[in-house]
C-alpha cells in the first residue's frame, strides 16, 4: 500500500537564470550547487530541484530569496511561488507503478533513482516529481488541480493520510 501525505509545499522559490554560462557563477554567488537537468540536490538549507532548462526550485525555509537575488545580480531572478503548489509525499514500495498509472512517465527506468526530478502530466495536471529514495517520492501538484488529482489517485488505490 502506498500512502499519500498531503500538505502545503512550504517555502518555495523559483530561480531563473538567463544563460548556461551563468550556472557556475550563479552557484558560486548563491552559495549552493545547481543540479543538472533532471536532478535535485539536497542541502542543509533545503532542496534544489531543476525543473526546466533555465529554472530551479529552491525548497525550504533556509533559502533567502532577497539574498540570492542580490547575489545573482543581473544573471538571474528569484520569484516566490509557494502558494501555487501542494506537496504530496508518496510513501511505499509501489509508488513507481502508481505514477505510471496516471501519467506517461518511465518511473521504472533504472535511471529514475533517488535525486531524479521530472516535470510531467499526471492525471492531466503538470506536476513535478522528485524521487527521494526507493520508498519515497514527492509530487508537487498545482493547487487548483490538487482536489481532482487526489480524488483520482485515491480511486487508484492510494491511501491519503494527513501530512
Amino acid at each position: 500500500m502506498t500512502e499519500m501525505l498531503v500538505g502545503p509545499v512550504g517555502a518555495l522559490l523559483s530561480l531563473d537564470l538567463w544563460h548556461g554560462t551563468d550556472d557556475a557563477a550563479a552557484a558560486l554567488a548563491a552559495g549552493f550547487a545547481l543540479p543538472a537537468a533532471g536532478r535535485a540536490e539536497t542541502l542543509p538549507t533545503g532542496s534544489v530541484l531543476r525543473v526546466g532548462p533555465r529554472r530551479w526550485w529552491l525548497l525550504g525555509a533556509g533559502f533567502s530569496g532577497d539574498a540570492i537575488a542580490q547575489a545573482l545580480g543581473d544573471s538571474g531572478t528569484v520569484t516566490t511561488i509557494a502558494g501555487g503548489w501542494v506537496r504530496v509525499q508518496l510513501v511505499g514500495s509501489t509508488w513507481r507503478g502508481l505514477l505510471m498509472d496516471c501519467g506517461l512517465i518511465d518511473a521504472e527506468s533504472p535511471d529514475f533513482g533517488p535525486g531524479t526530478v521530472a516535470v510531467t502530466l499526471l492525471s492531466h495536471a503538470r506536476c513535478v516529481v522528485h524521487v527521494r529514495d526507493a520508498m519515497r517520492c514527492d509530487l508537487f501538484v498545482p493547487a487548483s488541480y490538487a482536489e481532482h488529482c487526489l480524488a483520482q489517485w485515491r480511486d487508484l488505490g492510494w491511501q491519503q493520510v494527513a501530512a
Partner: protein
Amino acid sequence: MREHAGTVPFTFDGKAYAGHPGDTLAAALVAAGVKLVARSFKLHRPRGIMAAGVEEASALVTVGYGAHAEPNVRATDVFLYPGLVATSQNAWPSLRHDIGAVNSLAASLIPAGFYYKTFFGPPSRWMIYEHFIRKAAGLGQPPRVADPDHYAHRSAFCDVLVVGGGPAGLAAALHAAEAGKRVILIEQDIAPGGSLLREAVTIDGAPGDQWAQTMVARIRAAGGRVLLRTTAAGYWDDNFLFAVERRVEPGQPGQGPAQVLWKLRCAEVVLATGTIERPLVFVNNDLPGVMLAGAARALALRHGVAPGRRAVIATSHDDAYRTAFALADLGVEIVAILDSRTAPAGPVIDAARARFAVFADARPLRAIRSRNALAGLDALVAGVRQRFDADCLAMSGGASPVLHLHRQAGGALAYDAARGGFLPGAGRQGNTTIGAAAGIHALASILDQADVVDPLGAATAPAPGPIWRDDVPGKAFVDFQNDVTTGDLALAQREGYTSVEHTKRYTTLGMGTDQGKTGAMVALAQIADLRGVALPEAGLTTFRPPYTPVTMGAFAGPARGDHAAPIRRLPLAAAHDALGALWVPAGAWMRPRAYPEAGESIGQASLREARMVRASVGVVDVSSLGKFEIAGPDALALVAAVCATPMAKLAVGRGRYTVMLREDGMVMDDGTLWRLAEDRWLITSSSGGAARMSRHMTYVADVLLGHPRAAVVDVGEHWAGLAIAGPRSAALLADLIGAPVPSHMGLCHGTIAGAPVRVLAASYSGERAFEVHVPGHLAHAVFAALVDAAQAAGGGVYGLDAMDHLRVEKGHVVIGAEADGRASPADLGMGGMLRKAGGFIGWQGLTRPALADQAGRRQLVGLTSIDGAGICEGAMLVVQQGEEPAGHVTTAAPRVAGQGAIALGLLTDGAARHGEVLLAWSPTRHSMVQVRVGPAVFHDPEGALYHD
C-alpha cells in the same frame, strides 16, 4: 492428446453445458455438438465456428448479462469461466428458427448497394428507414445500463517490445532480455506459444506448449515483462503503441480493473504477429461445419475437440495436410483431402497418401446444407464433379501475414506472387517483422538455436487458393461478417466501383468488426481477377487501428464520472461553499456563479449582487485570472513585445490596462500590466486565456526574442486574487491594511489578517475597485476579513454573473465573447490605446489594408432594449426579419444602474451606426427584441467613479 483438468459450467442460449479450463467458448460449444452459433449480419444465414482466434468473423455472441453483458464477442476469443453466460444475437425468436432468415430468401433483392439505390429522398425519411434497417440487420445489443466495470491506464517503456508470443516472438524476447535489455512481450492469447498450440512438435525435448511456458519463465527471470491476454491494437509515431490487457474475460465480474490500456513507448519494436489463414471460395462456404483448417487443428490439438465425425480437407498448400493427421489421430474419419494443385508433392503429402484419400486438382464447388449445417460437398476433381459426405470441411486458401501494426507504423509492403499476398517491406520506425509474419514458416529456421522435432517435416510457405469464377450458382462468401459475396464484388465492378476503396464502401467489404481479417486478401484476388490486373494493382485498403475492437471504457480509463475532465478548484472553494455559492464551470475552473438567498433565482441573486456593488461594496474571487511575473534586465523588451499598449514610461508601482495581440493583429487576450520594480513586471490575463498566454510568452521569449535576460514565471496559482469593488471599497480596504490605498492603477503592499498582500487599484466593474493578491495558502483569513468588512458595510460577496452584468454595463470586453479571435483592437474600440511606434507582436498584422481600412469591419457597440425585454446572447442583428445579419449580440445583461436590458454586440460599421434601431433576432429561441445601437459604455463613461 490433451488431458483435461476439471470442468467449467456455462450456458449458451439458456442451455447448460460444461467445458474444460482453458477452453474457448467456441471449443466448448463444438465439443458439445453445437454447430449453429450465430446468424449473419445481413442475410441471417446460419453460422458456426470458422476460426480459432481474433480473426473469427461469424461466431459473434453476447457474453454476460445485465450491466456486464458484452456484445459481439468472438466465441473463439473468450475463455471459459464458471458461470459464463453466452447468448446468440441477431436472431428472433430463436437462433434455430430465425424470422430474419427470410432475408436470405430475398437475397437477390438486397444486393450490394441496395441501400444507396433504395433509400433516397428527403432526409427526414431516413428516420423511418433507419428504424427498420437497424431492426433487420445488426450485431448485438449494447447494455442499457452503465458499465459497472472499471478500466485502468498504464504506461510502460522498454528497449524492445515484442508483439506476439509464438516461437519467433518468444525467442526474440528471450534473446533481448538476456542481452540486458528492458523487454516487454505481448501475447493476445491466455497462453504463450502461438502456432505451437496447434502443432504436434517438440522443441528441446518438450512439447511446444510446454516449451513456450518455459520460455516465458526464462524471459521473466531475465527481467522481461510478459503480458498475456493483451492485444497490441495501435502503432503510432515514434514507436508509441497501445495495447489492451484483459484482466477478466468478457462478461465476467471481477475485482480490480476489467481491462488495462497500456501506453507503450519503445526504442525498438519486433513484430512476431504470425499469419491468418484464408478461406477458400465456393458456394455455401459459410455453413456451420466449414472452418479454417488451422482452426480445426487447434480444436484437435489444443483443446482435444473433434470438429466433426467425417471431415474433408480442402487446401491449396501443404499446411492443411497437418490438420488431416491431427483430426485422424482424434478419431475423425478423413473422407478426402482435396488439393487444388495439379501435382502436389513432398514428405507430408507422401505421408498423407499413405493414410488418406488425396485428390489432386481438386476443389470444393458447393457445400451441401442440411438442418443449418454442413452435410457434404460437391467438388470438382480433375474436372469431374464428385460428392463427398462430411460434417466438417477444413479449408485453407493460403495464409496472410498479419501486417496491421507494420502498416500502421508506415511500413512498406512487398508482393510475393508465390504466396498470393504481401510480406512486410522496410519498417519506418526501426521496427522489424520476424517469423511467419515475415514469411518464414519452418520452425527450425525460426528457432535456429533449438532442437526442433516436427514429425511431419518442415512447414512450407502456403500458396493461395484458386480464384472463384461462379462455377455453380449460389452464394460464395469473401467477407463472412458483412455477407459480401463474389457476386457483390462483380456487381460493384459492373457498376463502376472498380477501385478497391470504392468496392469496399459499396459492398461493405472488410467493414465489420473483424475488419476483413480472413477474407480481405481473398476478396482482393477476386477483384484483381475481375479487373484483369495483377493483385498489387488492385490496391489495398488502409490498415487502421485498432487491430481488434476496443471497448470505449478502455479508452476512457479512469477518466469517467467525476474524473471525466480535470476540474480546477479555487483555493477558497470551501469558503465559497460555506457562503452558499452556486458553481459554474468556466473553462476548467469551477467558479461561484452567485450566492442566492432563500427564495431567490440565480438571475435575481446576480442582479441583487451587482446592485450591491454599485451601491456599497462587493467581494468577488478572481483567483483564476492569469498572472505572470516577468523579471530581468530585458523584462521591458519582453513585455513590450507581448503588450500592445505603452509601458516604457510606466513608473514603478503603477499599472495600466493592456491588450495582447496575435501575430495577425487580432486580440488574443487582455488584462493589466504592473511595474513591480524597475525590472520586474506583472501581467494579468483572462482566466481562460492563462494557459495560452503562458505558451505565448514562452514562445516570444525563446523564439522571437532569442532567450532574453528575462524570466516569465507563471504565478497564477501562487496568488489568490480577491477583487473588492464599490463606492465603499477604498475606505474599507484602507481600514483593513491600516494605510491609504493607492489611487486608480496604483499598487501597494500591506497586511490583512496577518497575511502579506499586494493591492492593485484596478476596476472591471466600473466602480472604484481593487484586486487584493495573497499567496493561495494564506488566502482564507484574508477572504474572511474582506467579506466580514464588506458585510459590515452593507455589502457582501458576488459571483460571476454579477461580475458579468457590471462589466457589460461598463463596456468591458471579455475574451471569447467580444474578443472572439476575429476582432482587432480597433474593432473593440481599443485602437487608440496601442503604441503608435509599434514594435509589439501583431503590429505588422494591423498594417494590412483590410485592417487599416475599418470600413466593413464588425465593431463593438452597445445595445439597449427599446421595450426593456431581455436580449438573447448570440442573437443576430438585422434591420428586418429574414435579412442577412449585420452582426450579433456577444453578451447580454440586465441593466444594473437602472431598469431594462442592455447588451454588447459586434456590428458591421457599428461605430457609425449609433442611434440606429435593429432587431436582435434569435429564431432558434423564438426571440426578437428591438434594440437601439449606441456606445458600448453605459455606466460612468468618463471614469469619474474610479477616483476618490
